[in-house]
Amino acid sequence: MAATSFKEVFDKLNQGLVGYVVILLHVVAGSYLVYSQPRSNLAFLVFISSLLSLYFFRADNRFKILVGMLLALVIIPVIGVRNIFYLEVIFQISVFAALSLGLNIVVGFTGLLNLGYVAFYAVGAYLWAFFGSQQFYVLNYAPGTQPPDLPFLLPGDAFYLFLLVAVIIAAITGILLGLPVMRLKGDYLAIVTLGFGEVIRVLANNLDKPINLTNGPQGITPIQRPTMPEWVVDLFNSLFGGVIGHEVKLADMYNVMFYFFALLVIIAIIFVTKRLDDSKIGRAWTAVREDEIAAVAQGIPIVRMKLLAFAVGASFAGLMGVLLAASRTFISPESFNFMQSIGVLSMVILGGIGSIPGVILGAAVLTILNLQVLQGFSLYLNDLRQSDAVIPVINFAWKDLSTQLDPAKYQKLLFGLILIIMMIFRPEGLIPAKRRKRDVSMDETK
């Protein structure tokens, strides 16, 4: 009841010019806060939540797009370069948003639970890591014994080519993995994909012998980036140098560039998802999700449709993998563990399975929780430990608090709690998908 009345009040408020005013105020206030207090987490939260008002308040679509573009293309890069930590957070949000949107195609539209999604991410990352580094010339050396000054196999600009190659290779991997298991029930698929994720990680860990393909647990570094023309840095400097307050360096510009790439991928995924969702394929996917037997009866080739969804999801992960390898210039098997897969899945579930804005929100919330709130809480506890403060009632000195209590290390606890709570109380997510909303309400009347 409370939810509906809140919605009514919100709808009543959200009329006429109110939306425009709120959006503008929020964006301006957020930008000002982040600009004036570059160290404050709270200011950053106010700033990043302006995307929420942009989504929820009613305004002309052209206005929304304009404000959104202004935010994404100008304000975020400027604020990010001013405080590089924010750019890192925003970059991670966009990477995870892209991954979650990719997984959303598989889980949300077709209802196939993929617990090894980062395996495809790893495929893309290792693909570019191998061809974009000196690894080709290290094949016959054990890790750590290669001579210095080896040449690179390909120029850094081959990155663009490999964005495409990774899409294809990851899609093929997805089809190969999917073929044997697509005939089976959903939960088998979940376990097999989990297994596949671990297989890829173990392979990456151990394929440093007999020939050194992956450099083992040490990972591959340095991985090349595409070249950045001088004039881009100069242009950015001359345009925003005054606002940023310090000389923009090449490394900063690379971060901005990869943020833009991630943004492009997100837009591409949204575009593909929207187009597919309204197409014959999208309807077939929904039919497969809702009732496989009925779908077969309708003449839908379910195995082919499931494979297609699997391949599309995998290809986006592969693409993001190339991006990750280039942006980090270093990858190791530990970046692709089971925890990451579950993290991405939690984002999809938290935001709302099948809902594009929901999934992006889920990615943002979890990334911020992970990078800012948990770590901020850890730092806070550390400060308390160093102080002489005492909890008044139970007379407990903060100094005696075990150093094991480090919230930043308890991400699994957080992800686990989110999964359980969402499944029990709100399985449709924070922003439910439109079509799913109808399904859920129908279920309740049964």
Binding site: P180, A190, I191, I302, L405, Y410, G416, L419, M423
Partner: protein
């Protein structure tokens, strides 16, 4: 006595022993035969020469001399897998749901058992305990581990799974993954806060580390057979539990109810069976087995951490699928086969591939088997085909 025997279903006590003997000996014999033939074939090739150059033994005698130890180790771990796999398969049989958190139930059992033993050690009763008392303490630890794990399994079912029983299939599965993650970090948190560390080592006491050795002359080669007391304990304890479980399911009223619920939940409830109670009992029994398996695992491998549940859990699930999920005999067979296969792979893969791939691939061996089973025989070795395909 006669009166008592009349109520005791002797057949159900003897049958599982026969099954276990047949399964263990059969799979061990088949796999030994395969590996020995493989060794004979490869003896004269590059693989054999590489080994002669390295260790100065022929591939065949290397394989043969290691074989008894490998088989015993394989059976030990196989029985542990079987005990965990039964937890998966029972829950699946009743609810058609993969209880992902079962691996953490196992880990909780291991931690509770080990902590009890560590506590006893700090009391000073462990060192210098007689052999009899050592076994009594171990039994106590196993019992407490079982109770903790069983209680936790029932609680998890009540809190996290029961509200979702009629939801779409993926919803409870996702919740189970959440429970699994939550429990992993909870173990870590509790251990970290109370003991300051979360890698625990089981205390050494009693005669568990002793080895019983024997010699076997087989033609020219002498085989040294060494079996540690630990392995015997693990196997005996697992066998006892499996017999008890088999008796519970096949020869008691509760067991009949469990079977009825797993066949058809609605009809069972129409027959006056309290379905919720039976599901709780199923989780309890699975948890008891998993908890005991946890401590047995800790006894065998001595060192535990909050994440130990993950791989044994996945492998036991594979064992359940291999045997035919929902089928209890199948879980037993699957566990034994998987344990043997994995130990064989861990011990011989390095030699047979000339060091290119070794025991580091042991953990993903289970996954390969899982995928192969799902392609070629999705209903498992002993399962009936009950609409596994969509």
């Amino acid at each position: 006595m006669k009166q008592f025997l009349r109520y005791l279903n002797v057949k159900e006590l003897v049958r599982p022993i026969g099954q276990m003997l047949a399964f263990s000996l059969g799979s061990a014999a088949v796999m030994s035969a395969i590996i020995l033939i493989l060794a004979l074939v490869l003896d004269k090739t590059a693989v054999g020469t590489a080994l002669v150059n390295k260790l100065n033994v022929s591939l065949f005698s290397y394989t043969l001399s290691n074989l008894p130890q490998v088989v015993i180790d394989g059976l030990t771990i196989g029985f542990v897998y079987a005990a965990i796999a039964l937890g998966y398969t029972m829950v699946y049989g009743v609810l058609q749901f993969i209880n992902f958190a079962h691996s953490e139930i196992f880990a909780v059992g291991a931690f509770v058992g080990v902590e009890v033993l560590i506590f006893l050690q700090t009391l000073g009763v462990l060192s210098g305990a007689s052999v009899f008392m050592a076994y009594a303490y171990l039994s106590l630890a196993i019992l407490l581990a079982m109770l903790a794990a069983g209680g936790l399994a029932v609680t998890v079912e009540k809190i996290a799974y029961r509200p979702l029983r009629n939801a779409p299939r993926l919803v409870p599965l996702t919740a189970a993954i959440g429970v699994s993650f939550l429990l992993q970090d909870l173990i870590r948190l509790v251990e970290g806060l109370t003991t300051g560390q979360f890698n625990r080592i089981i205390p050494t006491f009693g005669n568990f580390d002793d080895r019983i050795t024997g010699k076997l002359t087989l033609g020219a080669t002498k085989l040294f057979i060494g079996i540690s007391v630990k392995s015997i304990i693990v196997i005996v304890a697992a066998v006892l539990m499996l017999i008890a479980l088999n008796y519970l399911v096949n020869a008691t009223k509760v067991g009949k109810a469990i079977r009825a619920v797993s066949q058809d939940m609605r009809t069972a409830s129409l027959m006056g069976i309290n379905v919720n109670r039976i599901i709780s009992i199923t989780f309890l029994v699975g948890g008891l087995l998993g908890g005991a398996a946890g401590l047995l695992y800790a006894l065998k491998f001595t060192r535990i951490d909050p994440f130990i549940g993950f791989f044994p859990g996945i492998k036991a699930f594979t064992a359940a699928v291999l045997g035919g999920i929902g089928n209890m005999t199948g879980a037993l067979l699957g566990g034994i086969i998987l344990g043997l296969l994995e130990t064989f792979a861990g011990s011989y893969l390095g030699v047979f591939t000339m060091g290119a791939a070794g025991s580091e691939y042991k953990d993903i061996f289970a996954f390969s088997i899982l995928i192969l089973v799902l392609i070629f025989r999705p209903q498992g070795l002993m399962g009936k085909n009950v609409g596994q395909k969509a």
